[in-house]
Subunit: 666 residues, 2 copies
């Protein structure tokens, strides 16, 4: 058997695993795995550095299947390489509940899946983040501990999504030479030929942003290997445009949209078996083919062993620090540093915008947590995310700790997911809260993947003033609270900002968004508390000595308003409690008893927040009173806007009184 024949049999193993699994599930995408099988075979068996017996080895190459619908390509390859999590039984269970082999690759379902993909373009941007993290870690720990490639297999859809532009321009600018993107250039999308919708010269497009590019026949293993060698040696990120036939091997459906996203059907599969000379039963891989894959799977183990030797030769401190950062544990020094600062704040009680409070807290954090990597999507001065410790990362120097992400919110958020997935760093960003909409698909994936990425989102309400409704979040609190497993924090003052930062860092399996004000806020927490009061999501900030007539719930900048209303009502002899609600999600996790105690049973419940009501009924009931927004904001000085929209302590006090009057009338 020639090398080419051997290669083709190895590639056909992927093709038939994909075809048969999709057929068995009666659902899935056979076209990409069949078309890209040659690429995957060359990449996985000759290039990729990994160890199937130690799939979490930190210096492994990363492989991202950005075209996630082709998941069977990945599952098939992982099985063939000997990854324990991907047995033949798992492959037979493709797309069934509880299987590791979900419809799209799901991070956490099994070792070997580096990221969750499916929403197009995300994987490409994740990979940019992984390649950034690799360079950051290599600069910190040396090339002998960190020196790996990030490979991406992307489809036409990935390249058509806008996020791809943000990702590739960032990669080109930062000269991420160890990022290699293979474009499965099959010319077919769901609606038919790609040229029905696009006429872009992708090679020229990538070159315009500083990429090296190579064109290659995606079914020629020698050419693919040569291209990968060239790409590895490049001083720039490389796009390999691999011309392929979607559904390669299927006699009547190959090269058409028919093979993209549905089972081929028994007849076509039988014909493909004949055409590719593959007489084996479904899920049966002949031993010569399996052996060839398994041997390739062991190839990299040597690299891993060599790495372990190099690692063992490092001093104990370096080893411990490398491992700590990769585990994601926080330094022991963090807690006392924050507690000391919290004590200071309780004494000084500064009036600060929470974005400024965040900067102050970050200055403490960044001093003792060397793995934080800050940044902003071109709003550094507004987001206050840069501290004295964070010098910029530049294309030629990754010793810095601050990334100027440019005006690329979506790419930033998705790249941060990749950084967190890579490990060793804790990324935090900056943008305006209203632009959480631009990042939303990536925020969702961070939550789905349980990744600790922290987004500082400032200018969090009409309180930003003159920039007007396009820049004023109104529905964003609700929309972000709606994302499962994402912590949305809206701290009320400098101490709450510190506590929320503490919680965001501690939540190593969740993304966080910190919604922060542009405008100054007086300190509401006036006594030092050892405990993190924000940890329970909501707490009684000001109690009523004897039976409150009303409870006022508020978050962020409106806590100040609630407290002012309380003072005004007290003057009228009306006792109120004020509950601060920095995080709905954490409150939901509390015991029924705690929640009932915080919500209390005052006759009147009022919530005040400079956003829409949605979500607050959980606290105040559907008959509770809400002071907030009912539509979009407006352009004007912020104090006037608060008055204009009736979000004032007078309005809150009036609502309480109206509520009490209503109760009396019943």
């Amino acid at each position: 058997m020639t090398d080419l024949e051997k290669h083709q049999r190895m590639a056909n193993a992927i093709r038939f695993l994909a075809m048969d699994a999709v057929e068995k599930a009666k659902s899935g995408h056979p076209g990409l795995p069949m078309g890209a099988a040659d690429i995957a075979t060359v990449l996985f068996t000759q290039f990729l550095k990994f160890d199937p017996t130690a799939p979490d080895w930190p210096d492994r190459d990363r492989f991202v299947l950005s075209a996630g619908h082709g998941s069977m390509l990945l599952y098939g390859a992982l099985y063939l390489l000997g990854y324990e999590d991907f047995s033949l039984d798992e492959l037979k269970n493709f797309r069934q509940i509880g299987a590791r082999t979900a419809g799209h690759p799901e991070f956490g379902h099994g070792a070997g899946i580096e990221t969750t993909t499916g929403p197009l373009g995300q994987g490409l941007a994740n990979a940019v983040g992984m390649a950034i993290a690799e360079r950051l870690q290599a600069t910190r720990f040396g090339d002998d501990l960190v020196d790996h490639y990030t490979y991406v297999l992307a489809g036409d859809g990935c390249l058509m999504e806008g996020i791809s532009q943000e990702a590739l321009t960032l990669a080109g600018h930062l000269k991420l030479s160890k990022l290699i993107v293979i474009w499965d250039d099959n010319g077919i999308s769901i609606d038919g030929r790609v040229d029905v919708t696009d006429s872009t010269d992708q090679i020229a497009r990538f070159e315009a942003s500083g990429w090296a590019t190579i064109r290659v026949d995606g079914h020629d293993p020698a050419a693919i290997a040569a291209a990968l060698r060239t790409a590895q040696a490049s001083d720039r990120p490389t796009l390999i445009a691999a011309k392929t036939t979607i559904g390669f091997g299927a006699p009547t459906k190959a090269g058409s949209a028919k093979v993209h996203g549905s089972p081929l059907g028994a007849d076509e599969i039988a014909a493909t078996r004949k055409a590719l000379n593959w007489p084996h039963a479904p899920f049966e891989i002949p031993s010569d083919v399996l052996d060839a894959w398994r041997i390739a799977g062991l190839r990299s183990a040597h690299a891993h062993k060599d790495w372990e030797k190099r690692f063992a030769a490092k001093d104990a401190e370096t080893r411990a620090e490398f491992e700590r950062r990769n585990r994601g544990d926080l330094p022991a020094a963090l807690k006392p540093a924050l507690q000391a600062y919290k004590k200071k704040l309780a004494e000084e009680r500064p009036t600060l915008a929470t974005r400024q409070a965040s900067e102050a807290v970050l200055t403490v954090i960044n001093e003792v947590v060397p793995e934080t990597i800050g940044g902003s999507a071109d709003l550094t001065g507004s987001n206050n995310t840069k501290t004295p410790q964070t010098l910029p990362v530049t294309p030629d120097d990754f010793s810095g700790r601050y990334i100027h992400w440019g005006i690329r919110e979506h790419g930033m958020a998705a790249a941060m997911n990749g950084m967190a997935l890579h490990g060793g760093v804790i990324p935090y960003s900056g943008t305006f809260l209203v632009f959480s909409d631009y990042c939303r698909p990536a925020l969702r994936l961070a939550a789905l993947m349980k990744q600790r990425v922290i987004h500082v989102m400032t200018h969090d309400s009409i309180g930003l003033g003159e920039d007007g409704p396009t820049h004023q979040p109104v529905e964003h609190f609700a929309a972000l609270r709606a994302i499962p497993d994402l912590l949305f924090f809206r701290p009320a003052d400098v101490t709450e900002t510190l506590e929320c930062w503490q919680l965001a860092l501690a939540a190593d399996d969740k993304p966080s968004v910190l919604a922060l004000t542009r405008q100054g806020l007086a300190a509401q927490r006036t006594a030092f508390e050892e405990d993190n009061l924000c940890a329970r999501g909501a707490y009684v900030l000001a109690d009523a000595e004897e039976g409150a007539a009303a409870t006022i719930f508020a978050s962020g900048s409106e806590v100040e308003i609630a407290m002012a209303a309380r003072t005004a009502l007290a003057a009228d002899g009306i006792a109120t409690r004020v509950v601060s609600v920095p995080c709905f999600e954490l409150f939901e996790q509390q015991s029924d008893d705690y929640r009932a105690a915080v919500i209390g049973n005052s006759p009147v419940k009022v919530a005040v927040e400079a956003g829409i009501r949605m979500g607050w009924d959980r606290f105040i009931g559907s008959d509770g009173l809400f002071v907030g927004m009912t539509g979009f904001g407006a352009s004007g000085p912020y104090k006037e806007l608060y008055a204009h929209f009736g979000i004032t302590s007078a309005a809150v006090a009036a609502a309480v009184k109206a509520g009490l009057a209503g109760k009396e009338n019943v």
Copy 2:
């Protein structure tokens, strides 16, 4: 005075109006207006076709300030040209509540503002939609009625946002030769020099997608004019890269980030007055300069008069149809056609996925409403948005009614906003509901601008099955209901789908999203009703003869489950009502009496929806029972997923019984 001197004085008028307005407001962005004043002066006074006395003339050229933060450029030019809505008093009132001159240009604040901009990249994509609409209308009504350019002024931020790639590739593919984008290439963004974050060769990038490109000195009026003439004659869309100095004229701050987004300060303004030889008081425009602008403002009136003559020469039917479509009125034939079809559905009671129901209804609509323009972001077969009437639009033939948008959800939604703003067409799209996240910034702007764009979003829950959690909406119902002034419809069967389509078309000042199922649903509405029951947002689908023990609220595919639970409970002697809730937003607009009557006062209230609880407390109260999702979905066959997540009629019936038991225990 030379022509150049005259030009410079005219351009300086924009510069000083911008500087002075920002200074007075103590807030705003003087840098762009000062830098792009020469471009704007040439464009507005020599090229743009418009009529300040008839700003809504349908065949006017469109101008989009995609870099919306430079709003004073637009307001200043509109004042100078003689647009009534933009008086000197309005300019003095820049960024104040109630002013037409908001921080960013807000559509609807005054004639002359063609679209709301600020969130970067959106304006560019809006303009692509406007240019598409122009071609569509020209094909339908002839070049003598529709023949205008769309001009865009875009900044570095617009070009860095991913949406710009979707927009420009679409424009290049469709050969939108009457789209002319002027890039204000000032090399500065908020964080400093653009080369801190990006190294893209924008010229090469645009050329890679089929654009003509021209480089020009953005302060040389003759060169700008020559470039615009070349662009007008191009058979492709054109990018004019105009090198400018941000804050041109400010002696110490020009060319730096300092001039981007803050007032210059009194000293710098005084120095600029000196440097530019502009001894006039703030907001004072010397009469020679104002006259020159006003004369230019009248220049185009001739074109308008000529157009009116051509229009008057058309036959009455053409004139009426042109005007009807531009007004946005629906054809009279629509209502009877839909009512007849609704009657047929009540008789036939077909079991259909609501995406199929939507296709059936669209087939009726598209037959009688010639101005609908359908499309899909590469999911045509899945979204069911193509009907026999809608042939594809192609680069060389705009007679079609269907746009293959490609894998560009964000660009699609933003271009549709531009189509609606242009007028004469009613755009509707298709994608998966989960990808509403990708379009979200454009959905928000559609709502803010009150534009009738209709999004068909299918595969609306775990009911899509095997594609798994990346493709299964969970939080999206809540997140879309949260957007003010957007109608989110989730119809329960074929009749509700018809009614929701009817409402979406009728809502000419609101965008709509129709969330539709992949899976089949039995007809729930079994009798023909003349009235549109969905119009009130929620209604009693099945009542209880004598005092219901429970009310079950549901939307979409879960209405079937609610009805099955009702049947099961009835067998146990428990009477229940079922309320169908196709649209929260419309329900909120009903009278208190209607809302109270629909919610009712059953002892037990249960809601069932295959999404998160958020929002439902409005119906069931905070102590109501909810059957739905609490986290992300999973990959598997859809019926198994419903069982797995406990969203079944048995679970609903059990919840009702548990609720009743709880009440008894109290």
